[in-house]
């Protein structure tokens, strides 16, 4: 077992990566002076993975939307007791979450991390699904779905995705729908579990007040080698164009909100990281209150301080999103169109570019200041198929020409979707 020490040349921070004999990738960051420990045990299995096969299967299997999230709920129930009961005895706070491209089980503690880690490695690998306990969970998840359906931020985001993607499952709610989850049963859950919860498809990330040797000793004792199942996931063909440029919905909200997204080319690994750096810098420039466009929109009371930009990406999808509260999002769309055209033709002032870059660098350093952020950063980098500190290096190499080039190629008017949630009359 080789311990690879990964160090950031820029900050001097380091962590350990081990490809464990079981097939599991393990990332460990010992953080001196901190009391907390944060651990995540994740699988590359999210809501978008609705079609898949292993080497043993002839054909691809299609499963109901929301099943990855349903499975996450059900893993908290062992045959003999609930997982919460086990953690209640150690004092750790445990949780789990499902995103578009991963499912993670976590604990946070400041004592007994060895015992907590053993529980984590154990319960995630001990599924216990019955028709009875699946039925019981149905009501709970239905309420979770209804709760998120009342969240206008969630609605405006998914409406934007449905205006952007013709067939990619990213446009479907992570938890599925009340109808789609009604097709889930114990057999289907086992099918998904046995496909995706293969240690070769999983990662453990742990940071804080820990000993790397102790963590590896626990992994050695808990994990045995797992045969690689040859997992393949596929996505439906997705055209480059969008479905429709504008979607409006009325909701019981006090303030109207919008999401304006650009459908961009999706890449993988380091190439995607370069796109993330360019797209993030472009979105930061375009939502920067220090620059004339936002200054004018603020003064004219078209936007408020909630206006901002972000990059959203995963397997076969990549978007640059601007969002906030506004009664006049069409004016923001026009302003963005004009500003992008201006920047592409006139270029970015070097002073502004360097300032935004410094700001992004500062945010990345701050991330290394926090146990939870470090554990998440190591796991996310692995899922994205890059190194934990690659983002800082890619940012350092970024030029203003890269950003202009990105805007010219990707921030196209015909790939823009505006989603609006308006106040009911």
């Amino acid at each position: 077992m080789n311990k690879e020490i990964i160090t950031s040349p820029r900050t001097g921070d380091s962590c350990i990566h081990v490809k464990h004999k079981s097939g599991l990738d393990i990332y460990i960051c010992e953080m001196q002076g901190f009391n907390s420990i944060e651990a995540l045990f994740g699988t590359k299995y999210g809501s978008v993975n609705t079609m898949f096969k292993t080497a043993a299967d002839k054909d691809y299997t299609t499963v109901p939307e929301g099943i990855a999230h349903f499975l996450e709920h059900k893993l908290f129930e062992n045959e003999d007791c609930g997982v919460f009961e086990l953690y209640a005895k150690t004092g750790a706070s445990c949780n789990a979450f499902t995103t578009f491209d991963k499912t993670c089980y976590t604990f946070s503690c400041s004592k007994n991390y060895e015992e907590n880690l053993k529980i984590l490695l154990d319960f995630v690998r001990k599924p216990y699904f019955t028709d009875e306990n699946v039925d019981k969970e149905m009501g709970i998840i239905e309420q979770e779905i209804k709760m998120t359906n009342d969240n206008p931020e969630w609605l405006v985001f998914f409406n934007m995705l449905s205006g952007m993607y013709h067939s990619h499952p990213v446009k479907i709610d992570i938890a599925g729908t009340v109808e789609s989850i009604s097709h889930i049963d114990a057999d289907l859950l086992y099918r998904c579990y046995n496909t995706f919860y293969d240690l070769n498809n999983m990662v453990l990330s742990i940071a804080g007040n820990i000993s790397a040797d102790k963590v590896l000793e626990i992994c050695d004792s808990c994990l045995s080698p797992c045969a690689d199942k040859g997992l393949e996931t596929v996505f439906p063909d997705e055209p480059d164009d969008i479905v429709k440029p504008e979607i409006r919905e009325k909701q019981p909200v006090g303030a109207s909100i919008f999401h304006l997204g650009y459908k961009c080319t999706a890449k993988n690994g380091l190439e995607r990281l370069k796109d993330i750096a360019a797209a993030s810098t472009a979105s930061a420039l375009l939502s920067d209150p220090a620059l004339p466009m936002c200054e004018r929109l603020l003064k004219e009371e078209i936007i408020n301080s909630t206006f901002g930009g972000e990059v959203f990406y995963g397997d076969n999808y990549f978007t640059v999103i601007f969002s906030g509260e506004s009664d006049k999002p069409e004016i923001i769309r026009e302003a963005l169109f004009e500003e992008i055209d201006r920047l592409v033709s006139e270029g970015i002032r070097e002073k502004d570019f360097q300032r935004i870059k410094k700001s992004s660098y500062g945010m990345m350093i701050l991330e290394l200041n926090n146990v939870e952020s470090v554990a998440n950063m190591m796991l996310n980098a692995h899922i994205d198929d890059v190194g934990p500190y690659d983002a800082i290096e890619v940012l350092s190499a970024l030029t203003s020409d890269d950003v202009i080039d990105y805007m010219r190629r990707e921030l196209r008017r015909d790939r823009c979707v505006l989603s609006i949630i308006e106040k009911e009359a």
Binding site: S36, P152, G254, S305, L366
Partner: protein, 422 residues
């Protein structure tokens, strides 16, 4: 960790926490004043405007430009309530100098920027700069209008409004829409001067390096301000209504919300917190195990103890047809505790969870600030370890006593419009 606390002026205290594990510094300035419907919004505007411009950076654009030059330093404001007091403040954080790529003095630049924002605001005659004022006024009105966007917090806020009717805590920490809409830039400037003169002021500085320059900057800034502090009372138990009140509102929502507010005459905040954990704060709590796991009625059903107001909230998101069933179960679980049905394991698990949480204090700058501000609010400067010892001293009998002190005061229901029409 090095901890220092000293007086900077009349009812102005400075707390410095030096911890070399951090890569950044943080500063929080809290103004504690009476919570009042008439002044809450304008007080909020008078402080939040300090984060939008200053005499050195006369526009929001120039201030934002400077902050991003300083490696994305953060500067923001806050307005909330604690008990019957309004807490207003500024928060800032910035990267330590050793991470500056070109040898910039980020710390020194932030000190000068904050000095300008707090003590040399952007004033034009007898009012704040109108452009800056318009930005914060719009933000505040939008925030108030946007309350309904977050259904769960809106429901809790509405329950608090009914539970605390006639008391200062009836209003929110950021003020009402009417007061915000009527406020002028001149009113905001008067509120700023009044707060600098009369509010209790707490300053917290967390840094990897010992540096007295921030304390000196504040001492210098307050030197010429004639202080006449007015005491703001944080802890005031809310009286129990003669009969419990139910209020409901209808919206076009998918899920109904129910909030129950109980009142207590108990001052034993440690027993009340232990009760809350056993009852409904954790995944091993009775409400989670019964209302969610056993009956599958909800995704969340949690309790919160607001000891400053002697109030206890339980909130859940449920189907309209299950409201009675959920309420009966929530009350039945409380009855169980009142009858003494608490296991040693439940007490032990609650203590373990508290121990883990308390040990994490100090792992982020904000956790230090919250801890020391809570010490100030409670008038009790103890260590986290001593705090935990107080929880350990809570007996099962004290928890039962705390449960028996809870009386239902208010029920708030957010109802599904469509279902009601059937």
């Amino acid at each position: 960790m090095i901890y220092k606390r000293f007086e900077l002026g009349n009812e102005i205290e400075f707390t410095a926490i030096i911890d070399n594990k951090f890569k950044s510094s943080s500063l929080a300035v809290y103004f504690i004043t009476e919570l009042n419907e008439k002044t809450a919004a304008v007080n909020n505007l008078g402080i939040s405007i300090l984060t939008v411009s200053s005499s050195q950076y006369r526009t929001y654009a120039s201030l934002c430009e400077k902050l991003s030059e300083l490696y994305g330093a953060g500067l923001g404001s806050l307005a909330r309530k604690k008990g019957d007091a309004q807490i207003l403040g500024l928060r800032a954080s910035w990267l330590d100098n050793k991470y500056a790529l070109n040898g910039e003095d980020i710390n020194g630049e932030m000190r000068r920027l904050l000095q300008s924002c707090i003590f040399e605001p952007n004033i034009s005659g007898k009012e704040f700069d109108p452009d800056s004022f318009n930005i914060v006024k719009k933000d505040l009105i939008d925030r108030i209008d946007g309350e309904l966007n977050q259904k769960r917090s809106y429901a809790i806020s509405q329950a608090a409004k009914t539970a605390f009717k006639g008391e200062p805590a009836e209003c929110t920490g950021y003020g009402s829409r009417e007061a915000a809409a009527e406020a002028t830039s001149g009113d905001a400037l008067s509120a700023y001067h009044e707060l600098m003169k009369t509010a209790r002021i707490e300053v917290y500085y967390v840094s990897p390096n010992e540096d007295s320059s921030f304390a000196e900057m504040f001492a210098e800034g307050f030197k010429d301000i004639e202080r006449a502090p007015r005491k703001a009372s944080v802890r005031n138990h809310s009286p129990l209504k003669p009969e419990s009140v139910t209020v409901s509102e209808e919206f076009d929502v998918n899920q109904c919300k129910m909030v129950l507010a109980f009142k207590t005459d108990s001052d034993d905040k440690y027993a009340l917190k232990m009760l809350s954990i056993i009852y409904g704060e954790m995944p091993f709590s009775k409400l989670f195990l019964s209302v969610r796991e056993k009956l599958s009625l909800c995704y969340y059903c949690t309790s919160t103890s607001i000891s400053a107001k002697g109030t206890f909230f339980v909130d859940s998101g449920i189907e309209r047809c299950n409201i009675d069933k959920a309420r009966d179960e929530i009350l039945a679980q409380l009855e169980e505790i009142k009858k003494g049905n608490i296991t040693d394991e439940e007490i032990e698990s609650s203590l373990m969870a508290l121990d883990n949480a308390i040990l994490q204090i100090g792992d982020t700058p904000s956790s230090y600030i919250s801890w020391f501000f809570d010490c100030f609010s409670d008038g009790q400067y103890i260590t986290p370890e001593e705090h935990f010892e107080k929880f350990k001293a809570v007996t099962k009998e004290k928890i039962i006593e705390a449960a028996n002190s809870l009386k239902l005061d208010t029920v708030y229901l957010m109802l599904d419009k469509e279902v009601q029409e059937q």
